[in-house]
Assembly symmetry: C2
Amino acid sequence: MTIKPDIEEGRRPQVLSLEGGCRPAGSLVPEASEELRAPEERFAALCKALGHPARVRIMRLLLSVDSCVCGDIVEQLPLAQSTVSQHLKVLKEAGLVEGVIDGPRTCYGVNREALAELKDLADTLL
Amino acid sequence: MTIKPDIEEGRRPQVLSLEGGCRPAGSLVPEASEELRAPEERFAALCKALGHPARVRIMRLLLSVDSCVCGDIVEQLPLAQSTVSQHLKVLKEAGLVEGVIDGPRTCYGVNREALAELKDLADTLL
DNA sequence: ATCGTAAATCGTAGATAAACGATATAAGGA
DNA sequence: TCCTTATATCGTTTATCTACGATTTACGAT
């Protein structure tokens, strides 16, 4: 890091991680170390992935049938196939769902561990 | 609503609520009525509000001091005052925090009910 | 009435997200 | 081999988010 101090003079180009900060000391709150910041970011990432009604819906669909649905998800949503595929990608990248390629189709399922992680983080952090 | 059918002919300008849908019948999953869709949207809205590390952080700061902090939040984050104010607004609009004006400053606090609602929805829906 | 401080809002730039259609990829069956 | 089907990816457009500085608003104190 610190490749360049900044772009030029204007606003910084999306930091979005707020890990460094600028405070030298004098934290009002005891924690705030590197270690304890990671769970917050993980929790935020999980929440962000669930922060769209279509994705909550997809999660529930997958939970309700418990095994793989695939293109069935598309039928359940008023969205184009490509859009649903995108939403699945977001959920997959957050680790909330897993996809298993099965012949010409892909079977998705909820990652129960990630779901447990989410609830655990919610209880721990908030 | 239905002021105009659509802008012109291109893609629709961000539906983002998927309430209507286009399915006439034949749902694969039993539920999917209007009533049961609301909690999903509420949950998504809460998650969206928490879908940024700065906002998770703010929530934790407010919980840790349990009463109002105010500009202290700004000191705890590597963000400008206006940015923090924006994040607080997002949390406030989701109902997760409440602000009480106290003289020249505003005291924020976590809305514990909304927090309970979040956890409850997580357990119920997922 | 004026000043200073705290917070909100405005205006703006750049990054991401969401949606679509079109196209590409991959596997199974004819 | 050549369709067909199922997903994924690409390219694009529009909307929203994130961040900032500058300004405005609202108090309290002088």
